[in-house]
């Protein structure tokens, strides 16, 4: 039985489809209309407004806060300055992924961690001997994400001109009407975008202010379905879909490492000891056995396959999350595509897949399973670099 986020009165009023799903125990809109197309194009052309309150949020304060987070995160958190945000992941002792999320430095000795799964017990378990205070603010802080080329204008208007200069992965303490909020230039769409963090009780006034501010900038309330397409285009992985937290893995082959997931760039083996460093050092030397890659599924083959049955090509209208096998050109199983989407922008059929490392080089041709008229077939797919879509404006 999910519960409502503080924005629920507003989202419900707009949600003509009543398409909701359970996100971390909250009601979350899948799409406001029966189709998510309009919301998707808002993300890419105007701006989309999405309730991301269900993210888990934890405050870390105290003298040892930096030392403590440096121990947990594989990325060198010591480099984070007040007002900065970092995309991070954290692992167990064997270097297996637990979750990915962000760390924001809100003050000298004050950090905030966001995660996609509950992290409290792991944060507590790793805290022995550290002089820190931990607080779970998940249920007290509401969050809105405004993403898209017009998001800067919208958020800036809502904040009274305070965030126009805010750089990528920076945050600002500001106000929207009477409410104190934190605005960070972050998001999950791979586009220009912002996230606004506020107290629950300020949620509705802030929501209304943002909607007012976005009126001239093509702002549309958007749901998770549209965001899912954008995050695939951006090549972003999702815990529970593209990988599983090691804390939930029954068998070794389900576990993943940052190197396998393409997050090797953030692993800083040289900084002070962190959880999983020894295992990751070994893996860094040997190289990961599997890698997460982008796949572009060949459209001509797909089309031909369907045409042989007298059908137009059928593609999933939104993102998909039911994994499907990937084969090499001789038909041997080499891994699985875990999520994907038809990109309305790129006019390409995209997928994120984990394949054996020898097939991970861009340009490698593999076979991707397609079901045509109930029959399982395979079409050509090419390994490509991610992000599939990476506009200048994201960082500009």
């Amino acid at each position: 039985m999910p519960i409502a986020t503080p924005f629920h009165p507003r989202t419900l009023a707009s949600c003509t489809s009543l398409l909701y799903k359970d996100w971390a125990g909250y009601y979350a809109v899948r799409s406001y209309d029966t189709s998510h197309d309009r919301e998707y194009f808002a993300f890419r052309h105007g701006c989309g407004l999405i309730d991301v309150t269900p993210l888990y949020k934890y405050d870390v304060r105290g003298k040892d806060a930096a030392r403590y987070l440096a121990r947990i995160m594989v990325r060198d958190i010591r480099k984070l300055k007040p007002g900065q945000v970092m995309y991070v992941c954290w692992c167990d002792d064997q270097g297996h992924m637990i979750d990915d999320g962000t760390v924001s430095r809100l003050g000298d000795d004050h950090y905030r961690v966001t995660s996609s799964e509950p992290a409290w017990h792991w944060l507590v378990r790793a805290s022995r001997g550290m002089q820190i205070g931990l607080g779970d603010v998940s249920d007290r802080i509401a969050a809105l994400s405004i993403q898209g080329p017009m998001s800067r204008d919208t958020v800036d208007a809502a904040c009274g001109g305070e965030v126009r200069e805010l750089k990528f992965f920076r945050l600002a303490n500001t106000r929207i009407d009477a409410a104190k909020v934190i605005v960070s230039r972050t998001g999950y769409t791979g586009d220009l975008g912002y996230e606004i963090w506020m107290k629950n009780e300020d949620a509705l006034p802030v929501y209304d202010a943002v909607v007012r501010a976005g009126r001239g900038y093509g702002l549309e309330p958007a749901g998770l379905d549209a965001m899912d397409v954008t995050r695939v285009e951006a090549g972003f992985i999702l815990n529970g879909v593209d990988y599983y937290s090691v804390l939930r893995c029954l068998i070794p082959s389900r576990k993943s490492t940052p190197y396998e997931l393409g997050l090797g760039w953030m692993v800083n083996l040289d900084h002070e000891p962190f959880i999983g460093r020894e295992a990751l050092t070994r893996e860094h030397q040997l190289g990961p056995v599997r890698k997460l890659v982008g796949l572009e599924v060949d459209w001509n083959e797909t089309e031909a396959l369907f045409r042989a049955h007298g059908l137009p090509p059928e593609v999933h209208s939104g993102g998909w999350r039911d994994a499907r096998p990937v084969y090499d050109t001789r038909g041997t199983f080499i891994g699985q595509a875990t999520s994907g989407a038809w990109s309305p922008l790129l006019k390409k059929n995209l997928a994120l897949a984990t394949v054996k490392s020898e097939f991970a080089t861009p340009g490698t041709v593999v076979r991707f399973e397609v079901t045509v008229e109930y029959e399982r077939r395979a079409v050509k797919a090419t390994v490509v670099e991610t992000p599939f879509f990476n506009p200048e404006r994201k960082r500009a």
Partner: protein
Amino acid sequence: MARYDVAIIGAGHNGLTAACVLAKAGRRVVVLERREVTGGMCASEEFQPGYRSSGLLHDTAQVRSAVVEALRLDQHGLDLVAPPAMLLTGADRPGVMIHPSNEATAADIAAISAHDAGRWSAYQDFIGRVRSVIEPLLNDTPPDIGAIGTLQSGSLGTLLKSAMSFQKLGRREMAEVLRVPPMCVADWLNEWFENDLLKAGLAHGALVGMWAGPWSPGTAANLLLAGCTTTSAVKGGAGALAVALERAARHHGAEIRTSTEVASVAMSGGSARGVVLATGEVIEASAVAASCDPRTLFLDLIPAGLLPVAFEHRVSVVRARGTTAKVHLALDRPLEFAAKPGERVERARTATTLDDLERAFDAVKYGRASDHPVLDIHVPSVASPAMAPDGCDSVSLLVHFAPHALTGGWTDAARAALGDAAIAALERVAPGVGKAVVGREVLTPADIAARYGASGGHIHHAEHALDQLAIRPTLDTMRYATPVANLYLCGSGSHPGGGVTCAPGALGAAAVLSRR
């Protein structure tokens, strides 16, 4: 190059044993003891002018003769003697003496139960037969669970020896060896005997230091293990063992520093490179062997943030809830038991029935100390008159049960009440003793934790529950090496466990010697 080959944390009997073994093998050893005296829980101390205590652990009947012989402790003043007879005495009943000799014991039991007298030798015979299976396992490094079923499994010889003894027992008795350990000691004893006093006295032996009563499953294992390891006791008690070990260690060149508290293990990368003293002094050593308990070592002495999270969590769930208090009494006259008027009795236990023990244990489940504790008594001055002034007795009481985590905390008043309850319990079997008390020292589990540095005030460093006997203290450390390179365990928290055995010290030292 480090100044020492091995730095040993703690000069208890296991730390000193390890020091002897290592020094004898030519290693440069330093032993670091927080207290001003050596011996740890074996140390005999003057608690009242003219009165010396036996060690906190006063039962020396499980000291391993193989260790004593290998270290030639006889040359350093140690004598092994037959364990003293144990008087089982309850209120208003004749007592029973458990002698080293089965015949003598059976004769004594006959006075209270002909049935039980007849069963005694069968019971001892069973333990004798099982001993051939269990003893090798208890005196060697435990097998490598990670390599079970492969030929690489360590201690293969021991396992084979034990397995062959097991086969020799025959199918029926093999099943018995597997059946008994998980049982309640009360159930097992009920199968053998009918007399309450006898059952209670024997059961008490299985419960020393336990967070368990006689009706707790798994307690039969302790009775079986104790039975399989009892040989001879140390003349002069635990204190004499500590003295001999210290002499032997020094003789072989070990350096022993008292009043020297280790603040942390000095780490370099993931390895130990010595210890840091409370004074800040760093003592470099190629290896560190810790005879302190595993919780203290890994949760307090290893700097935070260096151990694997899962391992740290695993150590944190090692159960070491102290349930035993210690009371030392200075008497101005000899201690006389109602059951044995005019006789000198060195060892005694006071539980009248199994339910006495169980009720005494019930209290600790609710954070209380028992109002009617049961006592495990040692009177060191019987065998060593010098422990007390002429014509007087020094009495050592292990008091069951009192929780480390007493509701409301161990205030002075709570400590005094515990002492009073212990004396009242003694009074019931030795009337008049209360008036003879001229001095007393009461050590609550909290005091034991503070004085001896034992986590939870646990006299065995970790409870002797079945799981913690089989895998002690954790999977990663059960063969004395630890996840920290160059750091070894050699205390009671390791196989084969607590008590005055010297076995963990010797086996831990062997692990240090066998390292590459």
